[in-house]
Amino acid sequence: MTSITFTLVISAIVFAVGTVGVLLRRNPLVQFMSIELMLNAVNLAFISFSGRFGTSEGQVFVLLVLTVAAAEAVVGLAIIVAMFRHRRRIDVDDIHAMQG
């Protein structure tokens, strides 16, 4: 098992764990952290493939992912704060106004 295979498996595991976290947790903060986990897992896969092929495209992509992740975190946290201000309680299951 080469080191790249190993890191790819690690990235797969972390990604799956992050996915389950988004679906299981009711706290939007932790859901966001889980999304960060997923993004990081993807970053790891990018770096691994980049190392395997010896080109820096994968690394460039990771930088772009980092930026988008930062933007996403900022907006997401602002939404959570706004939500908290409105309801004094943060639980995603409290919001189901779209129920049919």
């Binding site: 972390v14 996915t19 010896g54 690394q59 704060v81 299951d93």
Partner: protein, 170 residues
């Protein structure tokens, strides 16, 4: 020696990821996320991506995580027990699908790397700089990927304006 460090870092990453999801209190989740980020950053270093290692530490561990911690302490949410979920179907579905996803991803990737059809994504022409150096990274970023790089500034600007609008008290 290198293999041993790699395995330890991988275990740390997986363990801390599980911690993020399983910790009842969100402050512990945030700390676990910090562990995860640092171990992943070290994995990047092991894979010869020095610049990404530094960027990961600065941006993720430095900036984003602090933001998370700040919001956690500001809102001070109560803890929750994920295994006392009222929506049983959701929990069962999430766990099953997560497992399927893990198997497909890991299996597919291992198959792809080891026994799969040999594919050749080797660069058309080798870069001017050796792989992993900041020079090689910068040359890629500022020549071939200049437009996406500039566009990220737009993304950041929009996010900035959006968060200001959201954060404003009406």
């Amino acid at each position: 020696m290198e293999q041993v460090i790699l395995v330890i870092l991988g275990m740390l990453a997986v363990g801390s990821a599980l911690g993020v999801v399983l910790m009842p209190s969100s402050i512990y989740s945030a700390l676990m996320l910090l562990f995860n980020l640092i171990s992943l950053a070290n994995l990047f270093l092991m894979l010869h991506a020095q610049f990404i290692f530094a960027a990961q530490l600065l941006i993720y561990a430095g900036a984003i995580l602090v933001l998370f911690l700040f919001v956690v302490t500001l809102l001070n949410p109560e803890g929750e027990h994920i295994f006392r979920d009222k929506r049983k179907l959701q929990r069962a579905g999430a766990l099953t699908l997560g497992l399927v996803l893990l198997i497909i991803l890991a299996g597919g990737l291992i198959y792809l790397i080891t026994g799969g059809p040999s594919f050749d994504f080797a660069p058309d022409k080798p870069g001017a700089y050796p792989y992993g150096t900041v020079e090689a990274f910068g040359a890629g970023l500022f020549t071939q990927f200049l437009l996406p790089f500039e566009l990220t500034s737009l993304v950041l600007l929009v996010a900035l304006i959006g968060s200001v609008v959201l954060g404003k008290r009406r």
